[in-house]
Every structure is written in C-alpha cells, then in structure tokens.
C-alpha cells in the first residue's frame, strides 16, 4: 500500500503544536512506516504538491499566511487544524481587540526598547490583515485538534483515526483549550 502523504504548515503560531506532535515519541517510528511527510516547516519547500492530508497550525494574520493556507487547501484532500490558534484564533487573536494601526504602532514605534522605529510595509513583508482569523474562516476545514498545544496523545488519536479512514472528532475527555 502506498504511503499516505502528509504536508504540514505553520501560520501565525508558536510552533508548539508541531513540538507536541514530536512528543508522540516512539510512535513516530510506526507512523513513518505508514505516512510520508512531503512538506513541513523545516523543508523550506515554498509550494505544496498534492497530498492526502494537510495539517495546519496557527491562525491567519497576514496575506502570506492566507496564501499558504489556500495553497495547502487546494492541494490536500483532508485539512486538519492543530491547536487553539488554528481552531479558534488563540493567543494571536488577542490583537483583534485593537485596531491594526494601533497594533503596528505599539509594536514598531512605541515599544520601550525601540529607537526611531518604522512600521514595515509591503512588498518587503506581507501585509497584516485587519483581524487574525481561525483557519475555518478562510478555508474549509475537515477536522480539528484543539489545545494550546494539543496533547501528544490527542494528535496521535487524530492521526490514527485518519489512517483508519475516519474523520476524527476528539472525545470529550481528550478535549482541552489550554
């Protein structure tokens, strides 16, 4: 049987979900017999090639992240969201209670350590979106593993379910938002 192809991406996040995934420890050996990771944040591959499962960590906060997410969605059959940022907006979405301009000013001009600050602007850097969004407000998402980060066993559960041909829904006892 051909290996299931998986591509992962991280958007606006802390990479904690990917770290938590690595916490599945030795189970990763068995997993690697069944799946192939075509692209992940450490491959430096810019564009996605078609895969079976796309995994996304983080929320959508700028134009680049939006593009990456849409590219991933276009190239995967099933899209899974990892972590509170991807599922709900998470910590990144704290900025949504302020205006974009306010956030940029605070960050690049007003911070106590900044001297003669300047707000960076496109095309040098991707433009910030007005609001940080969870991924399901940008593309269709098939399954979710919430948690900040999700526990390794929850990620493992979700992957095992997917490999068994089912769309995973975390049981209540595995659910956590913190």
């Amino acid at each position: 049987m051909a290996k299931i192809k998986i591509a992962t991406a991280w958007l606006e996040c802390c990479s904690g979900c990917h770290m938590s995934f690595l916490d599945i420890d030795e189970a990763i050996i068995d997993l690697s017999k069944l799946v192939e990771f075509t692209r992940s944040p450490i491959t430096d591959i810019k564009k996605f090639s078609p895969v079976d499962v796309g995994i996304v960590e983080g929320s959508v906060g700028n134009t680049e992240e939006e593009e990456t997410l849409k590219d991933l969605r276009a190239n995967c059959k099933i899209l899974m969201a990892w972590g509170d940022c991807a599922c709900f907006g998470g910590v990144c979405a704290m900025r949504n209670t302020f205006d974009k301009e306010e956030v940029l000013k605070r960050c690049y001009i007003e911070t106590e350590s900044t001297y003669k600050g300047k707000i960076p602007c496109p095309p040098g850097v991707p433009a910030l979106l007005e609001q940080v969004k969870p991924v399901n407000q940008v593309v269709k998402v098939d399954c979710y593993v919430p948690g900040c980060p999700p526990e390794a066993k929850a990620i493992q559960y979700a992957l095992t379910e997917l490999l068994a041909g089912r769309i995973p829904v975390l049981p209540s006892e595995m659910m956590r938002f913190d």
Partner: protein, 663 residues
Amino acid sequence: MNEITLTINDKQVKGKQGDTVLDICQANGIDVPTLCHFKGLTDVGACRMCLVEIEKERKPVPACTYPARDGLVIQTHTEKLEKCRRLILELLFAERNHLCAYCVASGDCELQNLAYQYQMDNVRYHYSWPSLPVDSVNNYLVIDHNRCILCGRCIRTCNEITGVQALDFGHRGWKTLVCADLNQPLGESSCISCGACAQVCPTGAIYTKSSAYKGRPVECTKVHSVCSLCGVGCEIDALVKDNRLVRIDSPELANDRGLLCHKGRFEQLYDRHNRVTGPMVLNSQGELEACSLDEALNKINKKFSELKSHPGNGSIAGLASSQACNESLEAFRKFMANTLDSQLVDTLDGDEYRVITQGITKFQDGAKLSIETSLEEILKADTILLAGANPLESHPVVGSYIFRAVTQNGANLILVDPLRNVFSSRTSVWLKPPEGKEELTINALTKAIIDKDFAKDSIDLKRIAPSVKDINVIQATEEAGINTDVLHRAAEMLAKSQHGIIIYGKGILRYGNPELITSLLNLAAIAGSQDRGKPRIISLKPKGNSRGAWDMGLANSQNSILNSTAKNNVKAAYLLLADDYVDEPKLLDNLKRMEFVVVQASYLSPATYIANVVLPSPTWAEREGSYTTLDGTVKSASRLLQPPGGVKQDWEIIHKISKALKE
C-alpha cells in the same frame, strides 16, 4: 404537596407541584446541562442550555423556568436539542473573548467544561472580538467583562443571597455589561466584597485576586471548617495546596448561613503580621531572643513557682483573647484556676461581657445571655432596630442579613446611631442622637410606645413603665436633637412589628453602661405584642469566640482585672492571645508595669514586645478546635494547614507549663 407524574425520555418520573422541569430532571438523575441556573437562586432562563422538548409545545423551552405539570411528556437529549446546545455554546464563545489559554478560570470553568462535553472543536460563527474593560479597582475582586456570558448569576446572588444589590445589568442589547451601581468601578461602588459573585461565576469573568493562579481546584484538597474571625461562625470550604490556602468558598451558598464576607473569604488568605515561629525570651539587652521551648518553660516555671509559693510577693493574672478556640480557653481556665490557684482571670473583652450581663440582670433577675435570639431570625424580621452597630464592619454577614430583610421582606430599619454608616441610606428612620444620648433616645422610644397606648397588652408594662415614667417624649427628643414625629414613626413601627429584632454592638457597649442594655431590653419588652411576637435581641460580641469564652466563665470577675492590678498586687501576667493582634494602649501600659509577662501569640504585636517570654501559637488555620457563635451554637473547626516547625497547639503548651509547675 401534590405529587405529579411526568414522562421524561420515555420514563415515568415523579415530582411535586411547584417544581420546575429542571428540578425534576435533576432529582431523577437526568443530566440537563445548565449555565445560568444556580441552586438557590431564582431561575431566569438566560442561557438556554437547558432547553427541552415538551409535547404540544411549539418549540424547545428552558427546563429551568418551565413549571412541571402532571402528564407532561418531555425529551431532554434529542438530536435537535443537542444541536441547539452546541450552537449556543459556539455563539457564547464567539460573542466575547473566551480564550482559555490565558484565562484564570481555565480548568475550573463551566463554559469550558460544556464545550468539552459537546466536543466543540471549532466555532462556525465570526467572532465579534469586543474590547471590553477589566475592572480591578476592588481590593479582592476583578471583573473581566471579556469572559462574561451574561448569565446573571452574580447579579441574582448579589440581590438574593447577599442582599446588597450592588450588581445589575447595565446598557442594552449586545452592549450589555454587568455593572455595579450606576456603572461605577466595583471598588468604588456599594459592593461589600463578599465574593459570592466570584464563587457563582461559571467562567472567569469575576475572579478573586488572592486565589488567581495559585492552583486549580483539582490540584487542591478541600477541607470543611468554620471561620473564627467574628462570632457568626460561617462554615467554609478551604482549598489547600502545598500547605497554603488557595481559596475559601462557601460550602452551600444558598443556605441561610452559607454567606461569607470579605474577611472570611479573603482576608484570612493574607498573613498581615509577622509570625511568632518559636519560643522567645527577653535577653539581658532587652531584646527578644529565640530559645528552646524548655528554656522558655523553665523561665516561666521559675517565676510562677516563686510567686505561687510566696503569695505575698505578688499574684499572677491571666488574660485570654476570645479569638482562641474553646479547647485552648478551657485549658487556660483550668491552668489558672487549678495550677496557679489564681482567681484573677479575665478575657480581653471581659468589659463588654460585664456590661451586657449586668444590663440583662437589671432587666430581669437571673436572665442570661441565652435570652438573645439566633441570627437567622434577622432574615424573618419585619422591623429591625440597629443601635450603635455597624455590622458591615464588625460582622459583615449580619449586615447582609439586614440588607436581605430590608430588600426581601420590606422590613423597616430603624437606626439609632450618632454616626453615619452604610445602613443610614437604607433606613426607614434614622434617629441620630448626639454621642451619649443613645439611652435617652431609646427610653424616649419606649415611652412613646407607652404614651400612644400601643403597649397596653404587654405583660411587662407595669414592670417597665416606672423606669421611663419621668420621661417627657417631647422634651427628650428636643434634648437629643431628634424630630419628635420621626421618633413617633419609629415607635409605631416597633409597636406594630410582628417580628422585630434589636441589634446592638460596639457603639452601645463602648460606654460601659449596663443601663443602655437594660433600656434596649425594656424597649423589646414593650414593643410588638404578645400574640404577634416580641422583638428579639442580639448583641454583636467583639471577638470570634467571645460567647465561648464568656460561657466558660472566663470573664466572671466583678471588675476588669486590669483596673485592679495594683489592688491585687499583680506582679505577673499570662496572656493567651492566639491570633489576635493586640495593640490596645491601656492594656499595654498595664503590662509594662508588671515584673513578668508571658505572651502566647501567633503574631508579633506590641504585646509580644513587652513580654519576658513569648510562646508560639498556631493561627486559626493551624488550629483544630471548636468555637461558640455569638448566638450560642458550638461549631468545630478543622486544621487546614500544618503549623511551622516550632509551633504547638495552645493547649499542648499550657499542659506542658502546668506539668512543669506541678513537679
């Protein structure tokens, strides 16, 4: 009680007329999810989590507000209902900023638990991301409106349980916020910081500063105990983690005695003073120096034995603080009476005891403190006379009872107090005599009732009338600077009361005048009526276990032993202070004149600094023992924390001294 039969989820269940559908579901173990429901509060159907389908009802209805009827056919967990509940949860999450990863309540949140239960792994709606204020002006409480789901539990608690009515909804529609008074910061409002709102809050919208991030309930041990700060004797559930108090909750908020106040709930979490962690003796440089317990006991033994064997050289007095538990006080009493053979025993609040009991005896020979009524009676009162007391400061839970009687029963509140307090603005009548004219005012009230012939069926009329017969109400009111009509109004309220309560406290006791107490008792005997009920009386005693110490006879001496130290040739004193912080100048001056002072205390205070020997004492949380409430019920408290290494229980140390002296 009419029994009714309903069909819930195809099963026949029984309930009684007057139950709601939710009551019956809960009584029969059917788990209907709720958020705005809280046991003991009026149900309002705000959150819609408890929606159920009832046959012949057009649409799902909230179970918490639907009165159960005989023959109803109900479904509680259909696919449609479960979908509705999940939808409600998503809308609640989308409405404000419920981001658990940085919420103080995460792991102890009903909204979060329900989201887990309903496997809410995403929200299908756009978030509104409001930018709402966080109010942290209050000393103990924080309101974070971003976490609020507007269930209104806090508002109903503030209204129905605390009786303060500080909280309410402010603004309209989706801008609705929980507001204090006229949208004041909580710390500047009429809030009394009882913390009940934080206990009932299902999310992290109202939380307590002292407990935040100290540990989640699952990580803590829950210990049931009794608060000993004042004589109300509220029961508490203390959450303890790593020998530290994390939080104090009320075990059953909706019970009459389920309330807690800011002192019981919050103040006890802070150690405001430096601890005495081991025995200390005064060294030759005049400084306290840590020593072994044996060394301290030897020193005490030497001095006490010397005085005991040569009574002519001086006597030993014993003073106890009524903050100590009954067991320690009893050990202290036996030690003074049997081991030291000293009759010079008193409590720090002995003067109050003598005033109260002499007042009672003057009113009726042989009567005792037991003529006082229980605190729950306040809740049933229709007329309350509050004389020289500010319960919100001294006994805050009593203050809440008064608020509740006023707001819920529409009770008349009559204040006799020269000073303004919180109750002044909620009174029906405020009689404001100048200081020292309280007795005249109270007697004028009694006379006014007699003059108006309201008291004609009182069996005490003949006995009491002579004591006030010389009073001319008009002259008396003029002298006390009180409007005569207002006094007559108060007199009429008291005379017609069916369930009157007279509460007095520090403001009356400070005069040291038993006549004042007698005048209040006379008023109680004249007011009301034989068939409708006479006003009952409650004195607010100064310390947590005053009643216990007094009942034990610790304050039975005729006069304050402090005033007669010279006469009795007192040369040494033994003070059991427990966790009382003593800085009363008169007491300290007296102690300074003695040759030898032993202080057994939890905290370093001005009193410990004039001691020759200081012995450690556990704090309330480290003690195990019983306390007598101000209305005479004995309640036992558990040990919540392990005391620091060198600290032993008070009675253990007293037994040790006693044993050493006998040898």
